[in-house]
């Protein structure tokens, strides 16, 4: 059959040539010859010559003109071959499949787990200084910037340095959350236990389940929640150390003699040579007993003092000192006026 069909084709191709005529005879003598089949070939062969006069009209242009005159829709309706429709349908199905898969599997969040202590810069330029083993989860940059608040989910511990932004910055753990605008704070979460400590700015520590009302944490304040109890440790600064002024113990020799004479009228008896270099300033602690005062002066290499003890009294014969350029803290007048020499203002 195949061979006969090939001969029929050859018959038309070769036409009126001698070879064509010979093939024609062979075909008509072939027992499997089918006249209807041959006629179809002949019809196509003959009619195909007529396509020389066949013209192709611009159907879109014609339809537009007809539509304009009849008020019909101008939209061109073009037939799409079945195989093309099937291809398009297959591609669409594939795309829908991909889209569905992407939609079902795509996560708008990005998750970062710190294998070791790491600082992560968040999309808003805030930072999270994470301890090893901690994990944070937040929206991918595009969505993070579009969201109404900057939301971070935390497991583990991290210190957040939050940049100022009108949008709240919220760190969420399993049961609690911390909300701020711009500040520095640390936050630790392990299971249902969480603890937040504010370092700078103002932090709001709240419950995700309404277990307690949010508390404001000032710098240094700590709050923790174990699932049952909220504990807030308010920061109490160390009391400022009381500065005890150095005793004002620098005075002139003459003032010291007068003060001791008044203070110990029966025990301190200055002799006639006791005011040598009377205006020179020496240091002395008046809080001591008279004997200790004189011993202190005697121990001072710059001071030359001579005295004699008589019973409970002390007879001072001479006292002088090398001038060491010290300024006066305390004077006899101040003593008379009741000024505590230890609190005496600097002069």
């Amino acid at each position: 059959m195949k061979r006969l069909e090939d001969k029929i084709l050859q018959f038309f191709i070769r036409g009126d040539s001698a070879a064509g005529k010979k093939i024609g005879k062979e075909i008509s003598n072939d027992p499997s010859f089918n006249q209807a089949d041959f006629d179809t070939y002949e019809k196509i062969w003959q009619a195909s010559t007529d396509i020389a006069d066949w013209k192709v009209a611009d159907e879109d242009d014609a339809w537009a003109k007809i539509a304009a005159q009849t008020g019909l829709q101008e939209t061109s309706v073009k037939r799409i071959p079945f195989w093309r429709r099937r291809s398009v349908a297959a591609i669409l199905l594939l795309l829908v499949g991909f889209a569905l898969y992407y939609w079902l599997t795509w996560d708008p969040y990005t998750t970062f787990r710190a294998e070791e202590a790491t600082t992560v810069i968040l999309p808003d330029s805030s930072s999270a200084e994470m301890t090893a083993g901690s994990e944070i989860r937040y929206l991918r940059p595009r969505f993070f910037s579009e969201a109404q608040k900057r939301e971070i989910f935390l497991e583990g511990k991290a210190v957040f340095d939050v940049v100022d932004d009108p949008k709240p910055f919220e760190v969420v753990t399993s049961l609690t959350s911390v909300e701020v605008l711009g500040t520095v704070f640390s936050y630790e979460a392990e299971g249902d236990n969480s603890e937040a400590e504010n370092v700078e700015g103002l932090v709001s520590f709240g419950s995700n389940t309404g277990a307690f009302e949010a508390v404001q944490l000032n710098p240094g304040d700590k709050a923790s929640f174990d699932g049952n109890e909220l504990v807030v440790e308010l920061y109490e600064p160390e009391p400022e150390p009381v500065i005890i002024p150095e005793p004002s113990n620098k005075m002139r020799i003459i003032d010291l003699i007068d003060i001791l004479s008044d203070k110990y009228p029966s025990r301190f008896i200055p002799g006639p040579g006791s005011d040598r270099s009377a205006s020179v300033v020496i240091e002395v602690n008046l809080d001591q007993d008279l004997v200790d005062i004189i011993d202190q002066l005697a121990a001072d290499e710059a001071v030359d003092i001579q005295y004699r003890k008589s019973g409970n009294s002390l007879l001072l014969s001479t006292i002088s000192a090398a001038d060491r350029g010290l300024d006066i803290d305390y004077s006899y007048d101040m003593y008379v006026n009741g000024v505590d020499y230890n609190r005496a203002p600097q002069q």
Partner: protein, 171 residues
């Protein structure tokens, strides 16, 4: 209103199937492609305007060609006052009235073959059209395309085989 009146979708489909055929049908006599297209368009416009008055006793296609004949006659009648058209009108009127379904069917086969030829592979189509449309001999085609005569024959054979496959039960 006729029960089988045309709706817009059916009218669009009628246009899609027969507009080009109608243009070629008209062109075979007028030898004026622009006029043929204009008459064909006017025929479709009239058909749409009278869609509610028409009851297709024959097929829409037969009605369409009959309407096209009438439109062409009307065209010549409108121009018969002009002496240039007078003789042409008489000649065309006689011809038009002699046309029958066979002529239209013949054009229909040509339109189907034109469609099938358009489906051939580019090189095969080019060789087939040079032979059947331009009337070149195989030697001239071979020389023109710088290929062997045997290649021309091979492509002609393939074209005929493919056309029969495409036009099976259609011609």
């Amino acid at each position: 209103m006729a029960t089988n009146a045309l709706n817009q979708e059916a009218f669009r489909e009628l246009f899609r199937q027969h507009y080009n055929l109608l243009c070629n049908f008209l062109n075979s006599r007028t030898q004026d492609w622009d006029l043929s297209q204009e008459i064909a368009q006017r025929t479709f416009v009239k058909l749409w305007e009278k869609r509610n008055e028409i009851s297709f006793s024959t097929s829409p296609k037969s009605y369409l060609f009959q309407a096209a004949r009438n439109t062409l006659i009307d065209h010549y009648r409108a121009h018969k006052v002009a002496s240039d058209y007078a003789d042409m009108y008489a000649e065309e009127k006689q011809w038009i009235e002699s046309q029958d379904e066979e002529t239209i069917e013949g054009l229909s086969v040509t339109s189907k073959i034109a469609w099938a030829v358009a489906q051939l592979k580019p090189k095969t189509k080019e060789i087939f059209l040079l032979s059947k449309q331009e009337g070149l001999t195989y030697d001239e085609i071979a020389q023109h395309l710088n290929i062997s005569k045997r290649t021309v024959e091979y492509n002609m054979k393939n074209a005929l085989l493919k056309l029969k496959e495409l036009l099976k039960d259609k011609v």
